[in-house]
């Protein structure tokens, strides 16, 4: 499939997972099915699926700490009803992260650029997004080097050492990142990166199977939306 259709389908599947009704077991099964289907189609590495799941748990489990507060303010509602909102945030958060990561992981940086250029997004916005992805690998390398230097200089191991390194990160890592961002911006300006429509670098054509996939995802989103709002299920 062409990169632009993979991105577009990813957005549609993401939207479907955000709209899926969660008030019944059937809704939950439907959402699980949508995410599982997208994972099968995108085939992200199993390790990436695992780490996305762990990150999702770290990010969204703390919402359940709000349950007692909701219970305290909600009058006559029970624990299950009080936990409903954190539960929805938790499930949708996990589903959204898996769909997004699977979509992006199936694209190389070059494909991402080609795909973005075909979508109706202002070219400056696409160019900046593409450049953020492009610079991420450099940034990861830099983070790795900082981590190596922390290990060599005894930053890891003892709890106090770890803590010292952790609190110094905003003063070490962040200025480095900002310095790099400034230099990259200079280079972009010098090379005329933002003046140019990056479509000159080549775009992938739409094929019939791309249109078929996009139509399929639109139908899926339509079905989920009508299930939730027309069918009156929340």
């Amino acid at each position: 499939m062409a990169p632009q259709s993979r991105i577009l389908c990813g957005i549609l599947v993401f939207s479907a997972s955000m709209c899926a009704p969660l008030s019944s077991l059937l809704g939950l099964a439907g959402l699980t099915g949508i995410v599982a289907l997208w994972l099968v189609v995108s085939l992200p590495p199993a390790r990436l699926v695992g780490s996305t799941l762990v990150l999702g748990l770290i990010l969204f489990l703390p919402y359940f700490l709000l349950t007692p507060l909701v219970l305290g303010q909600g009058g006559h509602i029970g624990w299950l009803e009080a936990a409903a909102v954190p539960w929805r945030i938790f499930v949708r958060g996990l589903a959204g992260m898996q769909v997004s990561v699977a979509t992006i992981s199936a694209l190389s940086a070059g494909e991402l650029r080609q795909g973005m250029m075909r979508l109706p997004i202002p070219s400056v916005v696409s160019a900046i997004l593409v450049q953020i992805v492009q610079q991420t690998s450099t940034l990861l390398g830099e983070t790795g080097r900082i981590s190596q230097s922390m290990t060599v200089r005894g930053g890891t191991g003892a709890l106090a050492g770890n803590w010292r390194v952790l609190v110094s990160l905003p003063r070490v890592w962040l200025p480095r990142v900002m310095g790099r961002a400034e230099r990259v911006a200079d280079a972009m300006e010098m090379r005329g990166y933002l003046e140019e429509d990056l479509a000159v670098m080549g775009v992938a054509p739409w094929k019939s199977r791309d249109l078929l996939a996009v139509v399929g995802c639109v139908v899926l989103l339509g079905a989920v939306v009508s299930w939730r709002w027309v069918g009156g299920v929340s």
Partner: protein, 230 residues
């Protein structure tokens, strides 16, 4: 003959009424001339190079190929200049070397196939055509440096500005880079700490010290004597 680069009474300070980084810089490069810019760390070499293409604010006059640098002309001036930044990663904006080098040609309206062929040739001239399609973050520092240089050279600019081009290169790569630069027709202003490299490539050396140009010599030996390096 019109100089390729002419700057007169250049003054650089990053903030209005702030501390002056460089002042009183008068510099001229004839077509095809190669000049080394030397000075200790913080002497203002990078700032000078950036000012010449309008990337840092400056007072005074800068003209490239007769075109005076101003807000209105900055794009035209830059189109005559190839710039190699101090850290090559900063200027590599595309996933592969081939795409990155071809960008300059494509934005000048060259056809895709033709641009890719020319980019491949430029990479070949610098001995990195075997990494054309590799992701750039998998390349070594030296390879990235050459890809950045290929990107600057491919459009055959009248003026090349190189900021520490030998930083992180092994001696053999330095030697190859020197012979590549000598073979080019562009005028070149090269900021470097490598005096042997400057001697091999440049016909003139400009010394920056304490925010100004203190010496302009034709023999690197004079710089060595100035720094008491023997």
């Amino acid at each position: 003959m019109k100089p390729t680069l002419q700057c007169t009474d250049l003054l650089i300070r990053y903030e209005e009424k702030g501390e002056t980084v460089l002042s009183g810089i008068d510099l001229s490069l004839a077509p095809g001339e190669r000049v080394a810019l030397v000075g200790q760390n913080g002497a203002g070499k990078t700032s000078l190079l950036l000012a010449l293409v309008g990337l840092v604010p400056c007072e005074g006059t800068v003209a490239v190929c007769g075109e005076v640098l101003s807000a209105r002309t900055v794009k035209r001036v830059r189109s005559n200049v190839g710039f190699v930044f101090n850290v090559p990663e900063d200027q590599l904006l595309f996933p592969t070397a081939l795409e990155d080098v071809s960008f300059g040609l494509l934005r000048r309206g060259m056809q895709r196939e033709e641009a890719f062929a020319a980019a491949g040739e430029a990479l070949g001239r610098l001995g990195v055509d075997h990494v054309s399609n590799k992701p750039l973050h998998h390349l070594s520092h030296g390879q990235k440096q050459r890809v950045a240089l290929a990107g600057a050279l491919v459009t055959a600019p009248s003026l090349l500005l190189l900021d520490e081009p030998t930083a992180g290169l092994d001696p053999l790569a330095c030697k190859e880079l020197a012979s590549t630069l000598v073979s080019l027709e562009s005028a070149q202003l090269i900021a470097t700490h490598d005096l042997a490299f400057a001697e091999a490539v440049c016909s003139r050396v400009v010394l920056l010290e304490a925010g100004t140009m203190v010496e302009e010599v034709t023999k690197v030996g004079e710089i060595r004597r100035h720094w008491k390096l023997g």
